[in-house]
Protein backbone atom coordinates (compact mmCIF):
# COMPACT_ATOMS: atom_id res chain seq x y z
CA UNK A 1 0.00 0.00 0.00
CA UNK A 2 1.24 3.41 -0.89
CA UNK A 3 1.19 6.36 1.44
CA UNK A 4 -1.97 7.71 -0.16
CA UNK A 5 -3.62 4.33 0.24
CA UNK A 6 -2.71 4.18 3.87
CA UNK A 7 -4.02 7.68 4.50
CA UNK A 8 -7.20 6.77 2.70
CA UNK A 9 -7.45 3.58 4.74
CA UNK A 10 -7.04 5.53 7.93
CA UNK A 11 -9.73 7.95 6.86
CA UNK A 12 -11.98 5.04 6.12
CA UNK A 13 -11.51 3.79 9.64
CA UNK A 14 -12.66 7.02 11.24
CA UNK A 15 -16.35 6.57 10.35
CA UNK A 16 -16.16 3.12 11.93
CA UNK A 17 -15.21 4.73 15.21
CA UNK A 18 -18.51 5.14 16.95
CA UNK A 19 -19.27 8.01 19.28
CA UNK A 20 -20.89 6.60 22.35
CA UNK A 21 -23.15 7.93 25.07
CA UNK A 22 -23.84 6.93 28.60
CA UNK A 23 -25.55 3.56 28.72
CA UNK A 24 -24.08 2.25 25.49
CA UNK A 25 -22.49 -1.16 25.54
CA UNK A 26 -18.76 -1.53 25.04
CA UNK A 27 -18.51 -3.59 21.86
CA UNK A 28 -15.52 -5.54 20.60
CA UNK A 29 -15.26 -3.40 17.50
CA UNK A 30 -14.67 -0.27 19.59
CA UNK A 31 -11.10 -1.10 20.70
CA UNK A 32 -10.41 -3.24 17.62
CA UNK A 33 -10.81 -0.38 15.17
CA UNK A 34 -8.28 1.63 17.15
CA UNK A 35 -5.84 -1.26 17.03
CA UNK A 36 -6.16 -1.39 13.24
CA UNK A 37 -5.78 2.35 13.03
CA UNK A 38 -2.66 2.32 15.24
CA UNK A 39 -0.91 -0.40 13.27
CA UNK A 40 -1.55 1.31 9.92
CA UNK A 41 -0.68 4.74 11.30
CA UNK A 42 2.62 3.38 12.59
CA UNK A 43 3.47 1.97 9.13
CA UNK A 44 2.51 5.29 7.61
CA UNK A 45 4.75 7.19 10.02
CA UNK A 46 7.66 4.91 9.24
CA UNK A 47 7.20 5.47 5.51
CA UNK A 48 6.93 9.21 5.96
CA UNK A 49 10.19 9.18 7.94
CA UNK A 50 11.88 7.21 5.15
CA UNK A 51 10.58 9.76 2.68
CA UNK A 52 11.92 12.54 4.93
CA UNK A 53 15.37 10.94 5.04
CA UNK A 54 15.29 10.47 1.31
CA UNK A 55 14.41 14.06 0.61
CA UNK A 56 16.49 15.75 3.31
CA UNK A 57 19.37 13.34 3.39
CA UNK A 58 19.52 13.42 7.14
CA UNK A 59 18.30 11.15 9.83
CA UNK A 60 16.76 12.27 13.04
CA UNK A 61 17.72 9.99 15.95
CA UNK A 62 15.01 11.49 18.10
CA UNK A 63 12.35 10.55 15.56
CA UNK A 64 13.77 7.05 15.32
CA UNK A 65 13.68 6.81 19.09
CA UNK A 66 10.00 7.78 19.18
CA UNK A 67 9.12 5.45 16.31
CA UNK A 68 10.91 2.59 18.08
CA UNK A 69 9.04 3.37 21.25
CA UNK A 70 5.71 3.33 19.40
CA UNK A 71 6.55 0.03 17.71
CA UNK A 72 7.48 -1.63 20.96
CA UNK A 73 4.26 -0.52 22.56
CA UNK A 74 2.16 -1.43 19.54
CA UNK A 75 3.50 -4.96 19.84
CA UNK A 76 1.39 -5.43 22.94
CA UNK A 77 -1.86 -4.36 21.31
CA UNK A 78 -4.51 -7.01 21.04
CA UNK A 79 -7.86 -7.42 19.41
CA UNK A 80 -10.82 -8.54 21.45
CA UNK A 81 -13.90 -10.54 20.66
CA UNK A 82 -17.36 -10.84 22.14
CA UNK A 83 -17.22 -11.93 25.76
CA UNK A 84 -13.68 -10.72 26.39
CA UNK A 85 -13.08 -8.44 29.37
CA UNK A 86 -11.84 -5.01 28.43
CA UNK A 87 -8.62 -4.65 30.34
CA UNK A 88 -6.58 -1.67 31.37
CA UNK A 89 -4.01 -2.25 28.63
CA UNK A 90 -6.68 -2.13 25.93
CA UNK A 91 -7.09 1.54 26.68
CA UNK A 92 -3.65 2.55 27.85
CA UNK A 93 -1.56 0.98 25.10
CA UNK A 94 -3.36 2.90 22.36
CA UNK A 95 -2.69 6.18 24.15
CA UNK A 96 0.89 5.14 24.92
CA UNK A 97 1.47 4.35 21.22
CA UNK A 98 -0.11 7.48 19.85
CA UNK A 99 1.90 9.81 22.08
CA UNK A 100 5.38 9.00 20.63
CA UNK A 101 3.83 9.07 17.15
CA UNK A 102 2.64 12.59 17.86
CA UNK A 103 6.08 13.59 19.08
CA UNK A 104 7.73 12.16 15.95
CA UNK A 105 5.34 14.10 13.70
CA UNK A 106 6.10 17.30 15.62
CA UNK A 107 9.84 16.86 15.14
CA UNK A 108 9.48 16.00 11.44
CA UNK A 109 7.33 19.06 10.81
CA UNK A 110 9.78 21.24 12.67
CA UNK A 111 12.64 20.05 10.46
CA UNK A 112 10.92 20.59 7.13
Amino acid sequence: MSIEDKIAYLESLVPQMEFVRKGDYVLAKHPNVFVDFTNVALDLLRELYDLFKKKRGVSLPEVEYYIGMAESRAGFLRKVKFGDIIRVQDHNLIIDTWKPMEMAIRILQANL
Binding site: I3, I7, L10, E11, L13, V14, M17, E18, F19, V20, R21, K22, D24, V26, H30, F34, F37, A41, L44, L45, L48, L51, F52, K55, I86, V88, H91, N92, I94, I95, D96, W98, M101, E102, I105, R106, L108, Q109, L112
Partner: protein, 421 residues
Protein backbone atom coordinates in the same frame (compact mmCIF):
# COMPACT_ATOMS: atom_id res chain seq x y z
CA UNK B 1 -14.52 54.16 183.86
CA UNK B 2 -12.88 51.42 182.22
CA UNK B 3 -16.18 49.58 182.08
CA UNK B 4 -17.90 52.56 180.46
CA UNK B 5 -15.05 52.92 178.27
CA UNK B 6 -15.38 49.28 177.47
CA UNK B 7 -19.08 49.64 176.72
CA UNK B 8 -18.43 52.56 174.51
CA UNK B 9 -15.74 50.71 172.81
CA UNK B 10 -18.01 47.78 172.40
CA UNK B 11 -20.68 49.95 170.94
CA UNK B 12 -18.16 51.49 168.69
CA UNK B 13 -16.89 48.10 167.91
CA UNK B 14 -20.31 46.80 167.09
CA UNK B 15 -21.15 49.78 164.96
CA UNK B 16 -17.86 49.62 163.19
CA UNK B 17 -18.25 45.95 162.65
CA UNK B 18 -21.70 46.47 161.27
CA UNK B 19 -20.46 49.16 159.06
CA UNK B 20 -17.60 47.09 157.93
CA UNK B 21 -19.86 44.17 157.33
CA UNK B 22 -22.38 46.20 155.46
CA UNK B 23 -19.64 47.80 153.40
CA UNK B 24 -18.08 44.49 152.70
CA UNK B 25 -21.40 42.99 151.80
CA UNK B 26 -22.16 45.97 149.63
CA UNK B 27 -18.89 45.58 147.88
CA UNK B 28 -19.48 41.92 147.51
CA UNK B 29 -22.99 42.56 146.29
CA UNK B 30 -21.74 45.08 143.81
CA UNK B 31 -19.15 42.65 142.74
CA UNK B 32 -21.70 39.92 142.30
CA UNK B 33 -24.02 42.25 140.46
CA UNK B 34 -21.18 43.12 138.22
CA UNK B 35 -20.34 39.52 137.81
CA UNK B 36 -23.94 38.70 137.13
CA UNK B 37 -24.12 41.52 134.65
CA UNK B 38 -21.01 40.35 132.99
CA UNK B 39 -22.25 36.81 132.88
CA UNK B 40 -25.52 37.89 131.36
CA UNK B 41 -23.71 40.14 128.96
CA UNK B 42 -21.35 37.40 128.05
CA UNK B 43 -24.18 34.98 127.49
CA UNK B 44 -26.05 37.57 125.51
CA UNK B 45 -23.04 38.28 123.37
CA UNK B 46 -22.38 34.61 123.05
CA UNK B 47 -25.92 34.12 121.90
CA UNK B 48 -25.47 36.83 119.35
CA UNK B 49 -22.26 35.26 118.18
CA UNK B 50 -23.95 31.92 117.82
CA UNK B 51 -26.80 33.55 115.97
CA UNK B 52 -24.25 35.26 113.76
CA UNK B 53 -22.53 32.01 113.07
CA UNK B 54 -25.84 30.40 112.34
CA UNK B 55 -26.73 33.26 110.04
CA UNK B 56 -23.46 33.00 108.23
CA UNK B 57 -23.91 29.30 107.88
CA UNK B 58 -27.33 29.85 106.45
CA UNK B 59 -25.91 32.46 104.15
CA UNK B 60 -23.22 30.09 102.98
CA UNK B 61 -25.75 27.35 102.43
CA UNK B 62 -27.97 29.74 100.55
CA UNK B 63 -25.13 30.85 98.37
CA UNK B 64 -24.13 27.28 97.82
CA UNK B 65 -27.66 26.43 96.82
CA UNK B 66 -27.78 29.45 94.57
CA UNK B 67 -24.49 28.47 93.04
CA UNK B 68 -25.72 24.96 92.45
CA UNK B 69 -28.89 26.31 90.92
CA UNK B 70 -26.82 28.61 88.76
CA UNK B 71 -24.65 25.73 87.73
CA UNK B 72 -27.69 23.66 86.98
CA UNK B 73 -29.18 26.45 84.94
CA UNK B 74 -25.96 26.96 83.05
CA UNK B 75 -25.69 23.24 82.62
CA UNK B 76 -29.14 23.19 81.07
CA UNK B 77 -28.18 26.09 78.87
CA UNK B 78 -25.09 24.26 77.81
CA UNK B 79 -27.04 21.13 77.05
CA UNK B 80 -29.65 23.14 75.19
CA UNK B 81 -26.91 24.86 73.28
CA UNK B 82 -25.42 21.51 72.46
CA UNK B 83 -28.80 20.33 71.32
CA UNK B 84 -29.21 23.38 69.11
CA UNK B 85 -25.76 22.96 67.70
CA UNK B 86 -26.39 19.31 67.15
CA UNK B 87 -29.66 20.00 65.36
CA UNK B 88 -28.03 22.69 63.30
CA UNK B 89 -25.16 20.49 62.42
CA UNK B 90 -27.50 17.67 61.60
CA UNK B 91 -29.55 19.87 59.34
CA UNK B 92 -26.46 21.24 57.72
CA UNK B 93 -25.01 17.81 57.44
CA UNK B 94 -27.94 16.55 55.43
CA UNK B 95 -27.45 19.13 52.76
CA UNK B 96 -23.73 19.22 52.44
CA UNK B 97 -20.76 17.02 52.45
CA UNK B 98 -20.93 14.42 55.16
CA UNK B 99 -17.25 13.52 55.53
CA UNK B 100 -16.39 17.13 56.30
CA UNK B 101 -18.57 17.12 59.35
CA UNK B 102 -18.46 13.75 60.98
CA UNK B 103 -15.13 13.32 62.63
CA UNK B 104 -14.27 16.96 63.41
CA UNK B 105 -17.75 17.56 64.73
CA UNK B 106 -17.78 14.59 67.05
CA UNK B 107 -14.30 15.32 68.26
CA UNK B 108 -14.99 18.99 68.76
CA UNK B 109 -18.24 18.19 70.55
CA UNK B 110 -16.66 15.79 72.99
CA UNK B 111 -13.61 17.94 73.48
CA UNK B 112 -15.62 21.05 74.24
CA UNK B 113 -17.99 19.13 76.47
CA UNK B 114 -15.20 17.80 78.62
CA UNK B 115 -13.53 21.17 78.70
CA UNK B 116 -16.71 22.84 79.89
CA UNK B 117 -17.77 20.28 82.44
CA UNK B 118 -14.35 20.18 84.02
CA UNK B 119 -14.26 23.79 85.28
CA UNK B 120 -17.79 23.40 86.60
CA UNK B 121 -16.79 20.36 88.57
CA UNK B 122 -13.68 22.12 89.76
CA UNK B 123 -15.73 25.12 90.81
CA UNK B 124 -18.11 22.97 92.79
CA UNK B 125 -15.27 21.07 94.37
CA UNK B 126 -13.44 24.29 95.17
CA UNK B 127 -16.54 25.83 96.66
CA UNK B 128 -17.15 22.75 98.71
CA UNK B 129 -13.61 22.90 99.96
CA UNK B 130 -13.92 26.56 100.81
CA UNK B 131 -17.22 25.95 102.54
CA UNK B 132 -15.67 23.30 104.68
CA UNK B 133 -12.87 25.66 105.54
CA UNK B 134 -15.32 28.38 106.43
CA UNK B 135 -17.30 26.05 108.64
CA UNK B 136 -14.13 24.92 110.27
CA UNK B 137 -13.18 28.51 110.78
CA UNK B 138 -16.53 29.14 112.38
CA UNK B 139 -15.99 26.25 114.69
CA UNK B 140 -12.62 27.64 115.66
CA UNK B 141 -14.18 31.02 116.30
CA UNK B 142 -16.85 29.40 118.41
CA UNK B 143 -14.23 27.61 120.40
CA UNK B 144 -12.33 30.84 120.88
CA UNK B 145 -15.46 32.62 121.98
CA UNK B 146 -16.25 29.81 124.31
CA UNK B 147 -12.78 29.97 125.76
CA UNK B 148 -12.94 33.72 126.01
CA UNK B 149 -16.20 33.45 127.87
CA UNK B 150 -14.81 30.89 130.17
CA UNK B 151 -11.93 33.15 131.10
CA UNK B 152 -14.13 35.93 132.60
CA UNK B 153 -16.09 33.32 134.42
CA UNK B 154 -12.92 31.99 135.84
CA UNK B 155 -11.90 35.51 136.80
CA UNK B 156 -15.21 35.98 138.50
CA UNK B 157 -14.75 32.73 140.25
CA UNK B 158 -11.36 33.81 141.40
CA UNK B 159 -12.85 37.09 142.56
CA UNK B 160 -15.38 35.22 144.60
CA UNK B 161 -12.58 33.26 146.08
CA UNK B 162 -10.91 36.53 146.91
CA UNK B 163 -14.11 37.68 148.57
CA UNK B 164 -14.22 34.50 150.45
CA UNK B 165 -10.69 35.11 151.46
CA UNK B 166 -11.60 38.56 152.60
CA UNK B 167 -14.41 37.14 154.63
CA UNK B 168 -11.95 34.85 156.26
CA UNK B 169 -9.60 37.71 156.82
CA UNK B 170 -12.40 39.76 158.35
CA UNK B 171 -13.30 36.83 160.54
CA UNK B 172 -9.71 36.54 161.65
CA UNK B 173 -9.67 40.24 162.32
CA UNK B 174 -12.79 39.93 164.48
CA UNK B 175 -11.19 37.09 166.38
CA UNK B 176 -8.09 39.15 166.90
CA UNK B 177 -10.21 42.10 167.95
CA UNK B 178 -12.18 40.04 170.41
CA UNK B 179 -8.97 38.69 171.71
CA UNK B 180 -7.52 42.10 172.00
CA UNK B 181 -10.67 43.39 173.66
CA UNK B 182 -10.57 40.48 175.98
CA UNK B 183 -7.01 41.29 176.81
CA UNK B 184 -7.90 44.95 177.43
CA UNK B 185 -6.13 46.34 174.57
CA UNK B 186 -6.69 50.08 174.42
CA UNK B 187 -9.93 50.79 172.70
CA UNK B 188 -8.35 53.42 170.63
CA UNK B 189 -6.08 50.91 169.11
CA UNK B 190 -8.89 48.53 168.53
CA UNK B 191 -10.94 51.23 166.89
CA UNK B 192 -8.00 52.15 164.82
CA UNK B 193 -7.60 48.61 163.77
CA UNK B 194 -11.26 48.32 162.97
CA UNK B 195 -11.11 51.44 160.92
CA UNK B 196 -8.10 50.16 159.16
CA UNK B 197 -9.83 46.93 158.47
CA UNK B 198 -12.82 48.75 157.08
CA UNK B 199 -10.64 50.89 154.88
CA UNK B 200 -8.78 47.89 153.81
CA UNK B 201 -11.94 46.05 153.00
CA UNK B 202 -13.22 49.03 151.10
CA UNK B 203 -9.99 49.32 149.21
CA UNK B 204 -10.08 45.69 148.49
CA UNK B 205 -13.69 45.93 147.46
CA UNK B 206 -12.88 48.71 145.08
CA UNK B 207 -10.01 46.70 143.80
CA UNK B 208 -12.28 43.74 143.29
CA UNK B 209 -14.77 45.97 141.54
CA UNK B 210 -12.04 47.30 139.34
CA UNK B 211 -10.92 43.81 138.58
CA UNK B 212 -14.50 42.91 137.77
CA UNK B 213 -14.85 45.92 135.53
CA UNK B 214 -11.59 45.12 133.85
CA UNK B 215 -12.70 41.57 133.40
CA UNK B 216 -15.93 42.80 131.88
CA UNK B 217 -14.12 45.10 129.54
CA UNK B 218 -11.80 42.35 128.56
CA UNK B 219 -14.69 40.00 127.96
CA UNK B 220 -16.36 42.68 125.91
CA UNK B 221 -13.19 43.17 123.94
CA UNK B 222 -12.90 39.47 123.35
CA UNK B 223 -16.50 39.28 122.23
CA UNK B 224 -16.03 42.18 119.90
CA UNK B 225 -13.00 40.47 118.53
CA UNK B 226 -15.04 37.35 118.01
CA UNK B 227 -17.66 39.32 116.17
CA UNK B 228 -14.98 40.97 114.06
CA UNK B 229 -13.53 37.59 113.28
CA UNK B 230 -16.96 36.39 112.30
CA UNK B 231 -17.44 39.43 110.14
CA UNK B 232 -14.15 38.71 108.42
CA UNK B 233 -15.24 35.15 107.99
CA UNK B 234 -18.41 36.43 106.44
CA UNK B 235 -16.46 38.54 104.02
CA UNK B 236 -14.32 35.57 103.18
CA UNK B 237 -17.39 33.45 102.75
CA UNK B 238 -18.87 36.04 100.45
CA UNK B 239 -15.67 36.14 98.46
CA UNK B 240 -15.63 32.39 98.29
CA UNK B 241 -19.22 32.36 97.20
CA UNK B 242 -18.37 34.80 94.44
CA UNK B 243 -15.69 32.53 93.06
CA UNK B 244 -18.13 30.00 91.58
CA UNK B 245 -20.14 32.88 90.24
CA UNK B 246 -17.06 34.20 88.48
CA UNK B 247 -16.29 30.74 87.20
CA UNK B 248 -19.84 30.47 85.95
CA UNK B 249 -19.51 33.84 84.31
CA UNK B 250 -16.32 32.72 82.62
CA UNK B 251 -18.04 29.57 81.48
CA UNK B 252 -20.89 31.62 80.13
CA UNK B 253 -18.49 33.87 78.29
CA UNK B 254 -16.67 30.86 76.94
CA UNK B 255 -19.91 29.28 75.92
CA UNK B 256 -21.00 32.43 74.20
CA UNK B 257 -17.68 32.74 72.44
CA UNK B 258 -17.80 29.14 71.29
CA UNK B 259 -21.37 29.61 70.17
CA UNK B 260 -20.26 32.53 68.08
CA UNK B 261 -17.56 30.39 66.57
CA UNK B 262 -20.12 27.77 65.65
CA UNK B 263 -22.38 30.41 64.18
CA UNK B 264 -19.48 31.86 62.25
CA UNK B 265 -18.65 28.42 60.96
CA UNK B 266 -22.28 28.02 59.96
CA UNK B 267 -22.24 31.37 58.29
CA UNK B 268 -19.08 30.58 56.41
CA UNK B 269 -20.48 27.28 55.37
CA UNK B 270 -23.79 28.74 54.29
CA UNK B 271 -22.03 31.45 52.33
CA UNK B 272 -19.90 28.83 50.73
CA UNK B 273 -22.90 26.64 50.05
CA UNK B 274 -24.79 29.53 48.59
CA UNK B 275 -21.84 30.51 46.51
CA UNK B 276 -21.52 26.97 45.31
CA UNK B 277 -25.12 26.25 44.58
CA UNK B 278 -26.37 29.49 43.06
CA UNK B 279 -24.28 29.30 39.92
CA UNK B 280 -25.54 26.30 38.08
CA UNK B 281 -22.03 25.23 37.53
CA UNK B 282 -21.68 23.90 41.02
CA UNK B 283 -24.76 21.84 40.65
CA UNK B 284 -22.88 20.20 37.85
CA UNK B 285 -19.87 20.04 40.09
CA UNK B 286 -21.67 18.45 43.00
CA UNK B 287 -23.54 16.15 40.66
CA UNK B 288 -20.35 15.20 38.98
CA UNK B 289 -18.53 14.89 42.27
CA UNK B 290 -20.86 12.62 44.19
CA UNK B 291 -23.70 11.28 42.13
CA UNK B 292 -23.32 11.31 38.45
CA UNK B 293 -21.39 9.12 36.09
CA UNK B 294 -17.65 9.08 36.41
CA UNK B 295 -15.73 11.50 34.28
CA UNK B 296 -12.14 12.67 34.32
CA UNK B 297 -13.28 15.87 35.99
CA UNK B 298 -15.15 13.88 38.58
CA UNK B 299 -11.94 12.03 39.30
CA UNK B 300 -10.00 15.24 39.56
CA UNK B 301 -12.46 16.84 41.86
CA UNK B 302 -13.11 13.78 43.94
CA UNK B 303 -9.50 12.90 44.47
CA UNK B 304 -8.67 16.50 45.19
CA UNK B 305 -11.50 16.84 47.60
CA UNK B 306 -10.77 13.56 49.32
CA UNK B 307 -7.14 14.46 49.66
CA UNK B 308 -8.01 17.78 51.19
CA UNK B 309 -10.40 16.23 53.66
CA UNK B 310 -8.23 13.27 54.51
CA UNK B 311 -5.17 15.42 54.97
CA UNK B 312 -7.05 17.33 57.61
CA UNK B 313 -8.67 14.30 59.11
CA UNK B 314 -6.43 14.60 62.12
CA UNK B 315 -6.62 18.34 62.41
CA UNK B 316 -9.14 18.17 65.24
CA UNK B 317 -10.38 21.60 64.31
CA UNK B 318 -13.77 21.97 62.79
CA UNK B 319 -13.27 25.44 61.49
CA UNK B 320 -9.86 24.75 60.07
CA UNK B 321 -11.24 21.68 58.36
CA UNK B 322 -14.13 23.68 56.99
CA UNK B 323 -11.84 26.35 55.70
CA UNK B 324 -9.62 23.80 54.04
CA UNK B 325 -12.60 22.01 52.60
CA UNK B 326 -13.90 25.27 51.23
CA UNK B 327 -10.49 25.98 49.76
CA UNK B 328 -10.41 22.54 48.24
CA UNK B 329 -13.86 22.99 46.76
CA UNK B 330 -12.91 26.42 45.61
CA UNK B 331 -9.74 25.12 44.03
CA UNK B 332 -11.56 22.40 42.17
CA UNK B 333 -14.41 24.66 41.22
CA UNK B 334 -12.22 27.18 39.46
CA UNK B 335 -11.25 24.66 36.84
CA UNK B 336 -14.77 23.58 36.04
CA UNK B 337 -15.56 26.34 33.53
CA UNK B 338 -12.21 25.75 31.84
CA UNK B 339 -12.84 22.08 31.58
CA UNK B 340 -16.44 22.51 30.41
CA UNK B 341 -15.42 25.06 27.83
CA UNK B 342 -12.83 22.75 26.36
CA UNK B 343 -15.07 19.73 26.60
CA UNK B 344 -18.00 21.39 24.88
CA UNK B 345 -15.74 22.96 22.28
CA UNK B 346 -14.29 19.58 21.50
CA UNK B 347 -17.73 18.02 21.11
CA UNK B 348 -18.79 20.89 18.94
CA UNK B 349 -15.78 20.52 16.67
CA UNK B 350 -16.24 16.80 16.41
CA UNK B 351 -19.91 17.16 15.71
CA UNK B 352 -19.19 19.42 12.75
CA UNK B 353 -16.48 17.12 11.49
CA UNK B 354 -13.72 19.67 11.70
CA UNK B 355 -10.11 18.67 11.91
CA UNK B 356 -8.52 19.14 15.26
CA UNK B 357 -4.87 20.02 14.91
CA UNK B 358 -2.41 18.36 17.17
CA UNK B 359 -1.20 21.64 18.58
CA UNK B 360 -4.65 22.43 19.92
CA UNK B 361 -4.97 18.94 21.24
CA UNK B 362 -1.65 19.33 22.96
CA UNK B 363 -2.83 22.57 24.51
CA UNK B 364 -5.89 20.84 25.80
CA UNK B 365 -3.83 18.05 27.20
CA UNK B 366 -1.42 20.46 28.80
CA UNK B 367 -4.29 22.33 30.35
CA UNK B 368 -5.85 19.26 31.85
CA UNK B 369 -2.53 17.94 32.97
CA UNK B 370 -1.85 21.28 34.59
CA UNK B 371 -5.14 21.10 36.38
CA UNK B 372 -4.40 17.60 37.51
CA UNK B 373 -0.94 18.49 38.71
CA UNK B 374 -2.26 21.54 40.50
CA UNK B 375 -4.79 19.58 42.40
CA UNK B 376 -3.26 16.24 43.02
CA UNK B 377 0.25 15.98 41.68
CA UNK B 378 1.54 13.52 39.15
CA UNK B 379 -0.79 10.71 40.12
CA UNK B 380 -3.67 12.39 38.42
CA UNK B 381 -1.90 12.20 35.09
CA UNK B 382 -2.35 8.49 34.94
CA UNK B 383 -5.84 8.81 36.30
CA UNK B 384 -6.92 11.17 33.54
CA UNK B 385 -5.12 9.72 30.56
CA UNK B 386 -4.54 6.18 31.61
CA UNK B 387 -7.20 3.91 32.82
CA UNK B 388 -6.27 1.88 35.86
CA UNK B 389 -7.74 -1.24 37.34
CA UNK B 390 -11.32 -0.86 38.54
CA UNK B 391 -11.82 2.31 36.54
CA UNK B 392 -15.08 2.42 34.67
CA UNK B 393 -15.18 2.55 30.90
CA UNK B 394 -16.27 6.07 30.23
CA UNK B 395 -17.77 7.83 27.28
CA UNK B 396 -14.73 10.06 26.97
CA UNK B 397 -12.43 7.05 26.61
CA UNK B 398 -13.98 6.30 23.25
CA UNK B 399 -14.89 9.74 21.99
CA UNK B 400 -11.65 11.53 22.75
CA UNK B 401 -9.67 8.81 21.01
CA UNK B 402 -11.75 9.35 17.87
CA UNK B 403 -10.87 13.04 17.94
CA UNK B 404 -7.20 12.26 18.42
CA UNK B 405 -7.26 9.71 15.55
CA UNK B 406 -8.73 12.34 13.24
CA UNK B 407 -6.06 14.80 14.38
CA UNK B 408 -3.35 12.23 13.61
CA UNK B 409 -4.73 11.73 10.11
CA UNK B 410 -4.67 15.48 9.54
CA UNK B 411 -1.10 15.62 10.79
CA UNK B 412 -0.06 12.77 8.44
CA UNK B 413 -1.69 14.48 5.50
CA UNK B 414 -0.05 17.78 6.31
CA UNK B 415 3.36 16.13 6.68
CA UNK B 416 2.94 14.19 3.47
CA UNK B 417 1.94 17.33 1.56
CA UNK B 418 5.04 19.13 2.79
CA UNK B 419 7.30 16.19 1.91
CA UNK B 420 5.82 15.99 -1.55
CA UNK B 421 6.07 19.72 -2.13
Amino acid sequence: MSGVSYVVEVWVDTDARGWVSSSSLKVVEDGLVSADYMCMLTLKRLGEVVRGVDWFNMLCLKKLVDSVRGLERYGKDILRHYADVGLGLDVAKRGVVRPVWDYPFVHEYLFKQVRWVKPIVESVVGFDWYSKNVLRYYVDVGLSVDRSVKVPVKVLLDISHVFELFEIVGWVICVVRDYLVGEHVPVKDVASHKADVGVSVDVLGKGVGKVCVDAGLWADYVLKLGVKVLADAGVISDYVARLPAKALLDIGVGLDRYGKRILKAYLDWCVCGDWIIVPGMVTVFLWDLFICEPTPLRDICKVGFDSVVSSDWKAYDLIACLVEAVRGVDGAYRYIPVWLRDYLAADHDIGFGRAWVIVDKAKFEELVVKVGFTLMGREVWRRVYHKIWFDLVEVADQNVKIAVAQALIDAFKSLYEKLKG
